[in-house]
Symmetry: C2
Subunit: 439 residues, 2 copies
């Protein structure tokens, strides 16, 4: 039975929106009201701590740690969802389990990966990066050489243009946040600004694009306009402190913060300065989106502002009415996230979430908001804004502009299938089960 003190503190809390959302400032007032609310309501059955007995794992010495540590065996379910596990001759996807992790970036074991022909087994002592084309002096760089250059570290998300593709479906798919949004991840990348290397090769003023090529078997390449190169392109050597993972381009990748993942060429071996884009298959076909009228975007570089709630979310259900934290990630190619709004009533009313400091540009921003679930139906949504004034459209708006997925005559693909950045909705039923819906 709730004590009077808890009840009165709970009632002091001002709701910020309907259906149980509290103001983000509840985080910053010392927590008193919020904590008392938990005792009075959701934790009313909390058992008193009485006897203290050893658990079985306390009865004997444990296990020594090894040279390189891995998660507990009890976390074996926290893995990427992968396609094509046997590496048959087609692409492969590995999706991040956003609903099972927290914090502001993605651990290396769980970072999303897309590859066309698998990860090449590159010997870093033999690999070289060549920069040539419209330069004063073409150069080859070994990894040992690159390690001597001035480096910088920055957090950046990497997202596939096709991430969130299931949201184009006419009917809401029964899917987890991993299945819907698992092709975006965020890491701290450390490497060399590409401009530093180009200062050394020199840049012919006729150069308007670079072509970046990987050393995986297909030698996939993409064209990048020189403006982005001069802005913030990086030759990344480290991912979250250690050398880049095999699936993310070991020993080096091109990083183009906020741009389509496919352009951020992995296993990078060659950069050519040119006057025109190459119109490779990835820019002429795979990552070209056909619009409802039959036109297509010629290029679609930026990954637009997006957010989604990671907890609660499908399979991460609610066990009983009471307090929960709503937590998710937001990110944008056009700067820092400035605001995330959360709704618990399907978009009728909204409350502003707290953003985890520091907010980095073109990186994940963790947002959080206190929520009291009253045991009734709810529909959770988030929408994000960035410092450039860009924001997530409503689902209605983006569908009006882009359509829903359908077969295009003569094509094997359903369009649209890329760059969905509308909201994601999770319904909560009276049993606390969370499902993906359109709302």
């Amino acid at each position: 039975m709730p004590d009077k003190r808890a009840t009165s503190r709970w009632e002091d809390l001002q709701p910020a929106a309907e259906n149980g959302l509290f103001d983000r400032r509840a985080f910053f007032t010392g927590g008193a009201a919020l904590a008392a609310a938990m005792t009075g309501y959701s934790f009313s059955e909390a058992a008193r701590a009485q006897t203290l007995t050893d658990d079985p794992w306390s009865a004997a010495p444990g296990t020594p740690t090894g040279p390189y540590e891995s998660p507990s065996r009890f976390e074996n379910h926290v893995v990427r969802q992968i396609t094509n596990p046997n590496g048959e001759p087609r692409g492969q996807q590995s999706k991040t389990p956003h609903h099972l992790i927290d914090g502001t970036f993605t651990p290396n074991g769980l970072h999303s990966v897309i590859s066309r022909t698998g990860a090449p087994d590159i010997d870093p002592d033999r690999h070289q990066l060549v920069i040539h084309g419209l330069v004063r002096q073409p150069l080859r760089f070994t990894l040992d050489r690159l390690m001597r250059y001035p480096m910088e570290s920055r957090f950046a998300f990497v997202e596939c243009g096709g991430n969130s593709a299931p949201l184009w479906s006419p009917e809401a798919m029964d899917a987890t946040v991993q299945q819907l949004h698992g092709l975006v991840s965020c890491a701290e990348w450390t490497g060399i600004p590409l401009t530093t290397l180009l200062e050394e090769t020199g840049i012919d003023p006729a150069a308007k694009w670079i072509i970046a090529e990987g050393s995986d078997a297909l030698a996939p390449h993409r064209s990048v306009p020189m403006g982005k190169v001069l802005d913030d392109a990086m030759i990344a050597l480290f991912q979250n402190g250690e050398r880049i993972m095999p699936g993310n381009g070991y020993p080096m990748r091109l990083l183009l913060p906020g741009w389509e993942g496919n352009m951020q060429v992995k296993w990078l071996r060659r950069i050519e300065l040119v006057t025109q884009p190459s119109m490779s298959i990835y820019e002429a076909r795979t990552y070209t989106q056909i619009l409802p009228g039959g036109d297509a975007y010629k290029f679609h570089f930026l990954q637009e502002v997006k957010s989604f709630i990671t907890r609660p979310s499908p399979t991460v259900n609610l066990s009983e009415p009471g307090f929960y934290e709503i937590s998710g990630v937001a990110y944008s190619a056009t700067g820092r996230i400035s605001k995330v709004l959360v709704s618990a009533d399907g978009g009728q009313t909204w409350a502003e979430a707290a953003l985890q400091d520091p907010v980095h540009p073109k990186a994940f921003t963790r947002f959080r908001l206190p929520w009291r679930w009253d045991g009734g139906p709810a529909v959770l949504q988030s929408r994000a804004w960035d410092e450039s004034g860009n924001f997530q459209p409503t689902r209605e708006q983006i569908i009006a502009h882009r359509g829903v997925a359908s077969r295009v005559p003569g094509s094997t693909n359903a369009f649209p299938n890329q760059h969905y950045n509308g909201p994601t909705s999770w319904s909560v039923d009276e049993a606390g089960e969370v499902k993906h819906v359109y709302a």
Copy 2:
């Protein structure tokens, strides 16, 4: 042969200290002068890129990624240095290879660990945290419950009081940065402010300390003054985005940013609010330092401001004269790092390093400085300052205060053996070999 343009740009660079140190602003001027310097000098023999041929790994499809990714097999040497690998009945240490990583935090596989009796194999569904003692209402928290509370994420270093102990030796040990300083690491920790849980249990005003107890076999415990608890203590559940590693306290640890690692109790099962510290063996003996006059510090909570250069460093030698980046980490229990100075002439002259933004309080700060090695002898050092006005003493100053390691009558330990925070010196000989020295 250097071209004239490169030479003239090089000569435009203003030295910031003797023996080849350049101003940190060289990073922020577009890199033109610096890059040209590399061409003109260290990279004078750079081969022109002519023929482009496939490397063997480009000739066939690569390897699909698995559900949880690990570093390339070519990085198998990037591991922790461990003692007691077979888990005999004594403690174990795992030291971070700082010389082989970069960025602003430590990847989970390489985070340092000290344990007394190994890592217990805790079932997270059965583990509970009990808070009792001088509280209004003692409570037990399951992990499922804790996952519903408001969380926060913060970067924090965790350092053993005995880190850097070899620096107390009368003679400089022939050792790597991993051997000298491998018992400090930094991670992003996500969890629940302990104050949030204490608001729920209530705090009896008579409570001045907490006793935190782990569930590893020895049930080790430490006392923490309530001031620190109310300031920034956290029940950490996630480490760099995923659940805490087994060696770091899975499924939960106490985080006390900046304080002695041993106090940040791992495999946390119990917090008792009390009036007096328990004077456990870890506070009455193991982490008590005897001073030269025979007195001892009763407690030694804070890990003082410290810095060390990670690259170049022993085993990470210089291959030829020319440009190198000097890179290292700095951190302090008393706030943000405000300044790091670097010397290339054994402390005679100093230049200010660039600090990687953002600078977090009580966390690693990566510093970097351009250096041109002229092929002659050099001695590299760093010294750090923090926003509270604390700074690394010179070696002379700290030795004058604390002494050098020697046996204490009746003790099996050599004292001092903890809390060294003077500078670390790396000598560079004419062959480019880097060695630990005192200077």
